[in-house]
């Protein structure tokens, strides 16, 4: 076997370019896997970090109705489940109006610098700034000093480096000094945060030694800490929730891309290994003729494949690491456009990823060589040496079997993401394995036109590889089509929903976000002021509380639903016409959101038990309505029912309906000037915010999609290059027969075009099928949101068109490489 191996390696050395292309193919495959994985991890970490700097890293908050005592801290730290705890004072403050600017709402956030480290992350720039200006030491020693980002200072009309400011907290106004601190992520909070030492914040808030809350990082595996009377353990208020559901959506996207990367990568490696073996069929035949046993031959081929695979994979891991750096930069740019400047996160290659990628690389190479090696070893030596043997194609039944497998997986109910994802994978694999057979079908009737006929013949003779190349392209294309359609459909539906349900003209919510949900309320004075405004016709209010039930936490809202009554702004999915639904609601029935109906299997007419003030109460479900604002369970009651059940919990949000002809912006400005403690948004602004949140979630997907497609094109390029290198002598023959280089370029272009065309022909329907799975199965099951599939043909054809152009350009590369060669040089390449 060693002799054979030596002969194979000598041959590999003799065909440097071919060997190099094989190595490159394996390397690109492995690089795709490594790059996408690393970039995903880094971006995910960073994406979370982007929110962390605003939302903090607390897993829980310890709240209480009264200010909390500092004495709880040592007790909390002794609890086995508490990893870290920090005392927090958080108070809303107002910078009173001045001639040059209106009043501004701000949040004073008091932290203990000694205990805050596990909860906050500052950018390196912010750290340097704190270090050089000794900001934290000053915070400890100067009890009128607060830190603010440059944007906030500018907004407050203060000089760049900071300055004095009157700050009203509660009913007292004090003069404080602001120093500048950028890069803390605090400017992005709404309202902007002024960071200060705990002692200073307590003094400003008039709290003595009281605290607003404790932030906690809890060990999920340990029992939760014991609570004292009146204390409440909650997840960090709303601010964290959006981040969580966004990261969940982001993670799902990345999971799909990760699968895809492994598939495309393994497939490329596979393709290249096959090429390396089949290229040397004749040589293998000669070795057999010389008396080499079939077994030894096969083993030597596999060992060589493993070596090639290893070399390619090592290179691939390095390449992937480098690519990931670029990818992450792209992601950071996307995030920056959305959230303001963000430093690109660091990429680090862990041993596990590297090993997994090496294993996939070597495994795919060996697996790919196994079939051809076996067939070459078993075929009678004379045939092999004569080059008569054809490369084996994947078994014809494989694709249908994979499809059936996928269908079976999809039929399993209740599996949120995993099984449908495996089904997606199986379908992609089926596409790739079916490709050579499809190609053969198409090539059965060769065209008459000379160049086309030549191209068809060339493609047909190396079907195993041309088919694999087309398959390697079809997979990412199909997946990209699927994601494009899914995201597009989802977006369309969210837009339609936002347009339809936002019936009010102005939306009002408290800025205070950090207290427990139940203590968030709009003051009666504000509601009176709203109602009394001459341009306001009526005010719609929302009471909102959170209750734990047997089947998870529920958000329970109570509203007069004035906007719905007057403007019909509710999308009822089940439960009859809106007027009937409203009648039932007034009679004490409940409306439930679609995700809740999906999760709990509830339908109109069913009953729902809610834990009320005076014990559990059973309500009838009157209807299911469409809602994208909460992915947890959301129950809507009439305001009267809500008060009956839970008592007066206070108004959380309000919407104003204006008289015809009123200018919402004028009313908004008037309300904000009088009540800086609330956020008033016009319906247009709210709609924009909804869409922005949506785009934020999916923007990063597009970057990674683009990159994975580009890498697949690199794969196609190497596949075409292989084909070309193997058959250069044919071009020599054509040239000898009088073909011009330009005609040969045309021939190569037709070949590449045909491959691309077939790949796209398959990718389109498969992609639409996958989109259906994502929309109808994955989304419904994991988020509870259903929406019809809407295909944006413009975007899809744009994608396919771009891929086609890129593929054609890739097809021209081999031509550019050899067009200068003389006929004899080309002919000499045949061995």
């Amino acid at each position: 076997m060693r002799v054979v191996l030596r002969a194979l390696l000598a041959d590999a050395r003799g065909h440097k370019l071919q060997t190099l292309v094989t190595l490159l193919g394996v390397a690109v495959g492995v690089a795709v896997i490594v790059a996408i994985h690393l970039a995903s991890e880094a971006s995910l970490e960073h994406f979370r970090g982007t929110f962390d700097s605003v939302a903090g890293r607390a897993t829980h908050e310890l709240n209480g109705a009264a200010p909390l005592s500092t004495e709880r801290l040592p007790e909390l730290l002794r609890e086995p489940g508490v990893i870290a705890a920090q005392p927090v004072v958080s108070r809303l403050a107002v910078a009173p109006a001045r001639a040059d600017r209106p009043a501004r709402a701000l949040r004073v956030l008091g932290l203990d610098p000694f205990l805050a480290a596990p909860f906050l992350e500052f950018s390196s720039a912010a750290r340097a700034q704190i270090g050089s200006a000794r900001l934290f030491e000053r915070l400890l020693l100067e009890h009128d000093l607060l830190l603010a980002p440059g944007e906030v200072l500018a907004d407050l009309g203060l000089p760049d480096e900071g300055g004095a400011l009157d700050l009203r907290v509660g009913s007292t106004t004090r003069r404080v000094r602001l120093a500048r601190l950028d890069g803390s992520g605090l400017a992005r909070s709404d309202p902007p945060v002024l960071l200060t030492d705990l002692a200073t914040a307590q003094q400003l808030a008039g709290l003595d030694t009281g605290l607003t809350r404790y932030d906690l990082i809890l060990d999920p595996d340990a029992p939760p800490p014991q609570l004292a009377a009146g204390e409440r353990l909650a997840r960090p208020a709303r601010r964290g929730e959006r981040a969580d559901s966004m990261t969940a959506a982001f993670r799902t996207n990345l999971l799909c891309l990760g699968f895809l990367a492994v598939l495309v990568g393994a497939f490329l490696a596979f393709n290249m290994a096959q090429f390396a073996v089949t290229r040397r069929r004749a040589m293998l035949g000669r070795l057999r003729c010389l008396g080499c046993s079939a077994k030894a031959l096969q083993r030597a081929v596999l060992v060589e494949a493993a070596l090639l695979g290893l070399a390619g994979s090592v290179f691939g891991v390095a390449l992937g690491r480098a690519l990931a750096g670029t990818l992450v930069g792209d992601v950071a740019r996307t995030v920056s456009t959305l959230y303001g400047r963000v430093d690109p996160p660091g990429v680090s290659l862990d041993a596990l990823t590297a090993t997994a990628a090496l294993l996939v690389g070597v495994g795919a190479t060996v697996a790919a060589s196994w079939g051809p090696a076996r067939s070459a070893a078993r075929t009678p030596p004379v045939l092999v040496a004569g080059g008569v043997v054809r490369d084996p194609l994947p078994h014809r039944a494989l694709a249908p079997l994979l499809c059936v497998f996928a269908a079976l997986l999809l039929c399993v109910p209740q599996s949120a993401v995993v099984l449908p994802s495996i089904a997606v994978l199986a379908i992609l694999l089926a596409t790739a394995t079916a490709m050579p057979h499809l190609l053969r079908r198409l090539l059965e009737h060769p065209p008459r036109q000379l160049v086309a006929a030549l191209a068809a013949g060339r493609l047909e003779r190396s079907l195993a590889r041309t088919g694999a190349a087309a398959g390697a392209l079809a997979m990412p294309l199909a997946m990209t089509v699927a994601l494009l359609v899914m995201v597009g459909s989802f977006r369309g539906e969210v837009v339609a929903w936002a347009e339809a349900v936002l019936g009010g003209d102005l939306y009002v919510q408290p800025l205070e976000q950090e207290l427990a949900a139940e203590s968030l309320r709009l003051s009666p004075a504000l509601l009176d002021a709203m109602a009394a405004h001459p341009q306001v016709e009526t005010v719609d209010t929302l009471r909102l509380i959170e209750r734990a039930t047997d089947s998870g936490e529920l958000l329970i809202g109570g509203s007069e639903l004035e906007a719905v009554r007057r403007r019909g702004t509710m999308r009822v999915l089940q439960g009859g016409p809106l007027s009937d639904v409203l009648t039932a609601l007034d009679a004490g029935a409940a409306l439930i959101s679609e995700p809740l109906a999906q999760r709990r299997g509830l339908a109109p007419g069913d009953s729902l038990r809610l834990p009320g003030r005076d014990g559990e109460r059973e309500l009838t479900v009157a209807a299911v309505f469409q809602d994208f604002s909460f992915d947890r369970g959301y129950v809507l009651l009439a305001a009267r029912t809500h008060i009956e059940l839970f008592g007066e919990t206070g108004v959380r949000n309000a919407a104003a309906l204006l008289r015809p002809g009123a200018d919402p912006e004028v009313v908004r400005d008037a309300l904000m000037a009088a009540h800086p403690e609330v956020l008033v948004r016009t319906v247009a602004k709210l709609r924009d915010d909804v869409l922005r949140a949506f785009n934020d979630t999916f923007a990063i997907t597009y970057v990674l999609q683009g990159i994975s497609t580009a890498l697949a094109l690199v794969g196609i390029l190497t596949a075409l290059l292989c084909l070309h290198l193997e058959r250069r002598h044919e071009l020599g023959v054509l040239r000898a027969l009088g073909a011009r280089t330009r005609a040969i370029g045309g021939l190569l272009l037709v070949e590449a075009g045909a491959l691309m065309f077939v790949a796209e022909l398959v990718a389109l329907p498969v992609g639409l099928g996958l989109a259906w799975i994502l929309v109808a199965v994955v989304n419904t099951r994991s988020f509870g949101w259903s929406f019809p599939m809407a295909i944006d043909f413009g975007a899809v054809s744009g994608l396919l068109g771009m891929a086609l152009v890129a593929g054609l350009l890739a097809g021209l590369v081999p031509w550019l490489l050899t067009r200068r060669g003389t006929i004899s040089q080309l002919l000499e390449t045949r061995r």
Binding site: L73, A117, I130, G131, S132, L141, D197
Partner: protein, 406 residues
């Protein structure tokens, strides 16, 4: 004098790194670290300087001395568990004043003192060291140091003399992942007061460049060690207690120190430290205190002892190269000791917060005194060999390898 004045200063200085920031940079870089304290010890800032003529009064002096800028209570020792396992431990409370007094109308949580705690456990059988630390402002429920009696608390690490007579002290504090709860018997031990004038440890030529410093060796202790898995071991053993307070700092050229403490089986005790210069040489103020078996005490100057490094060990984490075996000679006492760490990796890294990296470990001391064999267990502290793992939070002075040790 005082190795740990410096350590506590570094820690106090670096406390800000425990904040999400690098205030440490400003305070802990060598230049500033020295220049600032220079002012701190001046009369103007109001802190009490260590001058001759003050007598050590125990147990009163076990308590806090808020008029000094810096103070620490330092336990090192050996624990023997009921199941036969052996541990070394370190439990240290540091106090560092940020200002002499609070301004009028300061808020209730305004900071005068920062209190720090370091707790390490060296598992001898597994050759594993674990470390934990706490930092807090001097807000009574969180951290406090009593002027009345020995009572120092930093969050969940507490040291308490419940009766106030200095006879028995309760220590309840985290050491690494474990928690140590022991009663320490102070009652019968005679203090070892360091310095030429007993109790006053000089650290420079100028008046006030000194600190008050005494030790209590061979303190019997017993109690429990609760391990991270929740299991509890009954332990007993012996500890060495150090208490030092003062208001001045190390000089410019001093980069670190090697500190040794041992109770030998012939009844003698030795505390020795060597301050190292940037060029590796030993500072003239390096000194030692020896108590002979007959109870007589002797102050040793730099020229009275020799310290020769025989082995070195490189930390795989910080890459710092620490001495790992010494020959310690006091010719005039006919004492020669070989000092070896019980295991090499007893490096403590506070990289999670303050960024100070130092070596503090259980060592065995074996040798001869006047022809007779002696041995004992003790602790060695090596500071200034490592750059901080987090460069930005660099706290220890420049890492300079001493080229010569004795």
């Amino acid at each position: 004098m005082s190795r740990r004045v410096c350590l506590s200063f570094l820690l106090a200085a670096a406390f800000a790194a425990a904040t999400p920031t690098a205030l440490a940079q400003a305070v802990s870089t060598p230049g500033q670290e020295v220049s600032e304290p220079a002012q701190a010890t001046s009369e103007a800032d109001g802190f009490l300087r260590a001058l001759p003529g003050r007598e050590l009064r125990l147990p009163a002096d076990h308590a806090n001395h808020p008029r000094t800028r810096t103070e620490w209570w330092y336990f090192t020792g050996q624990l023997f568990a009921e199941d036969g396992r052996e541990f070394g431990f370190q439990s240290t409370w540091f106090r560092r004043a940020l200002r002499e007094r609070l301004p009028t109308q300061a808020p209730p949580l305004a900071v005068r003192d920062v209190l720090l705690y370091h707790g390490a456990l060296a598992d001898v059988d597994r050759a594993r060291t674990q470390f934990t630390e706490r930092v807090s402002r001097d807000h009574a429920p969180w951290a406090r140091a009593s002027e009345e009696r020995l009572e120092v608390v930093t969050l969940d690490a507490s040291l308490l003399d419940p009766v106030g007579d200095g006879a028995r002290v309760l220590l309840d504090a985290p050491v690494g992942d474990a928690r140590l709860r022991v009663a320490i018997d102070f009652g019968t031990v005679t203090p070892l007061a360091h310095g030429e004038e007993p109790g006053l440890s000089l650290k420079g030529s100028e008046a006030g460049q000194a600190s008050w410093y005494y030790s209590l060796p061979r303190l019997p202790l017993s109690g429990s060690l609760q391990l991270a898995d929740g299991s509890e071991l009954a332990v007993s053993g012996e500890a060495w207690f150090d208490h030092e307070f003062g208001s001045s700092q190390l000089g410019d050229e001093q980069v670190g120190w090697d500190w040794f403490s041992v109770a030998l089986d012939d009844g003698s005790e030795l505390m020795l430290y060597q301050l190292r210069h940037t060029d590796g040489s030993a500072d003239a103020t390096s000194s030692a205190t020896l108590r002979r078996p007959d109870g007589s005490q002797r102050h040793l100057r730099r020229e009275d002892f020799e310290l020769e490094v025989l082995e070195r060990w490189t930390s795989p984490r910080s890459r710092a190269r620490y001495p790992a075996e010494w020959a310690l000679r006091i010719p005039s006492e006919a004492l020669e000791l070989r000092v070896r760490p019980r295991f090499a990796d007893q490096e403590l890294s506070t990289s999670g917060s303050t960024g100070v990296v130092y070596w503090e470990g259980l060592c065995e001391f074996v040798g001869e005194r006047a022809g007779g064999a002696v041995m004992g267990a003790g602790y060695v502290e090596l500071v200034g060999y490592a750059d901080s793992i987090q460069g930005a939070f660099a706290a220890p002075p420049r890492a300079v390898e001493p080229t010569q040790d004795a």
